[in-house]
């Protein structure tokens, strides 16, 4: 039977640092998926994965078993992704202000891993999707990614963003509105 995350965490806390390897191997892929959806590019996502496990290891004494280890880990990953996209945005806004017109480098990142069977239409949707997600504020993007892709509850999203319930709901709603505006012309809605 597979040892639960909670048992592994207890082992690591008791001094078996090598036990942390199991947690890394179990959760790396899902943290990468979250990070990629949050940041929109592979390099940043790798960076988030690395930093998330580093922070988790260092802060393991703060983990309380009320939430699952995976949820706690996602919270760290989402927070760090949020810091990263906020800093990028601030940096970009500053540069744009100083240099006049400049395209957001995130927008110029090509959609990766298209897959051989992807149709031109879905490719167009993917490109517009990437653009639409990049148009969201960091808070909207975080709330939307956590709700839409990760299925996190409003309570969990509140905790990650440090905002109230209504603000969390409103961030999701605003994100959907913006995505709708961009994507609706492409999607044949009844």
């Amino acid at each position: 039977m597979e040892e639960s995350d909670l048992c592994v965490v207890a082992r690591v806390r008791a001094g078996d640092g090598d036990g942390f390897r199991l947690l890394v191997e179990r959760h790396s892929r899902s943290v990468f998926r979250l990070a990629y959806r949050m940041t929109g590019n592979e390099q940043d996502a790798e960076d988030v994965v690395q930093e998330t496990f580093l922070r988790a290891f260092r802060q393991l004494h703060r983990y309380e078993s009320r939430a699952s280890f995976a949820t706690w880990l996602y919270r760290i990953a989402a927070n760090y992704s949020l810091d990263l996209i906020r800093s990028r945005k601030r940096h970009f806004d500053h540069r744009q202000h100083a240099n006049g017109e400049e395209r957001d480098p995130l927008l110029s990142i090509p959609s990766t891993d298209p897959g051989p069977d992807r149709t031109a239409f879905s490719s167009q949707i993917q490109e517009r999707m990437t653009e639409a997600l990049n148009e969201l504020t960091p808070q909207e993007r975080t709330a939307f990614v956590l709700r839409h892709f990760e299925g996190q509850t409003i309570g969990e999203i509140r905790a990650v963003l440090g905002i109230g319930e209504n603000a969390a709901k409103h961030s999701i709603f605003r994100a959907v509105q913006k995505l709708r505006k961009t994507l609706e012309p492409l999607v044949n809605v009844p």
Binding site: V12, G15, G17, D18, F20, V24, E25, R26, H27, S28, R29, F32, R33, Y36, E42, V49, Q50, F53, L54, R55, F57, R58, Q59, L60, H61, R62, E64, I76, N79, D83, L84, R86, S87, R90, T112, D113, G115, Q126, M129, T130, L133, H148, F149, I154, A159, G162, K169, H170, I172, F173, V176, Q177, L179, R180, L183, E184, V187, N188, V189, P190
Partner: protein, 250 residues
């Protein structure tokens, strides 16, 4: 029931509990709301992001790259003030040695002296890299501390971070002064910002209220200090690598 608004439809799509039964009942009866909901469903069902595949052994690769300091008995080792003090004292000695080396270095050093110089540089870079990493840890701990984690009526015990910041201050001052003397204005500015933040943390009470924690977090965030320290730390580590390689080739 009035027609459902867009926000209600979005929340219903995501299965938020609360007013689900009345919303469902309304959707069953009202054709226009049902059409609006179907349109939203159709759109949100297409929202997907193609995530690049990771190899089967991705977890093992991440583990290798992490290179965690497992020889330490516990993760909290770093947070013990006594160890921070020792690390800071060692860093101070290293900086002093480095400065002495710089001032005493002759115009055309013989090969052996050049080797010593490179070693000193490597030692300084390693010490500075560690200093930045420890500072980053403190900032991250505070940036990620949420009121939910606080005990005792929403207060959070930051005594570890506080004493660690105190210990880091002295070393930081020396690094900043070194950067200023050597004319590295960018590094001096980052270290100056870091010093102010460390000072703020060191002067905070051991038990902070939610408001005090929010103020600290705001200061960290407003200055973008975490990001700056992270980037600076990466640069130091990058510089460290060629120096280490040069030392190995000798």
């Amino acid at each position: 029931m009035n027609h459902l608004n867009e926000e209600q439809l979005v929340l219903h799509y995501y299965g938020e509990p609360g007013d689900a039964p009345p919303v469902e009942a309304h959707l069953a009866e009202c054709q226009s709301c049902r059409a609006a909901y179907q349109s939203l469903q159709c759109l949100l069902n297409t929202v997907d992001v193609t995530v690049p595949q990771r190899p089967e052994d991705y977890g093992a690769q991440v583990w290798q790259r992490l290179n965690l300091p497992l020889h330490r008995p516990q993760a909290r080792f770093w947070l013990l003030p006594r160890n921070w003090a020792m690390a800071a004292a060692a860093a101070v000695l290293l900086v002093a040695a480095f400065l002495a080396g710089r001032w005493q270095r002759p115009a055309s050093p013989p090969p052996q002296v050049a080797v010593t110089g490179r070693l000193r540089e490597r030692v300084l870079l390693v010490a500075l890299g560690d200093h930045l990493e420890r500072s980053q840890m403190i900032l991250v701990e505070l940036a990620n501390a949420t009121p939910e984690l606080g005990r005792g009526g929403g207060r959070l015990d930051i005594s570890y971070e506080r004493s660690a910041a105190e210990d880091l201050l002295e070393a930081n001052r020396l690094y900043r002064q070194t950067a200023q003397r050597t004319g590295d204005a960018a590094a001096a500015n980052i270290l100056d910002d870091l010093e102010r933040t460390l000072l703020e943390i060191a002067h905070s009470p051991s038990n902070v209220s939610q408001t005090q924690l929010a103020d600290l977090r705001k200061q960290i965030e407003d200055q973008g200090i975490l990001f700056k320290v992270r980037i600076f730390g990466s640069r130091v580590r990058e510089r460290e690598a060629p120096v280490s390689a040069a030392n190995r080739n000798l």
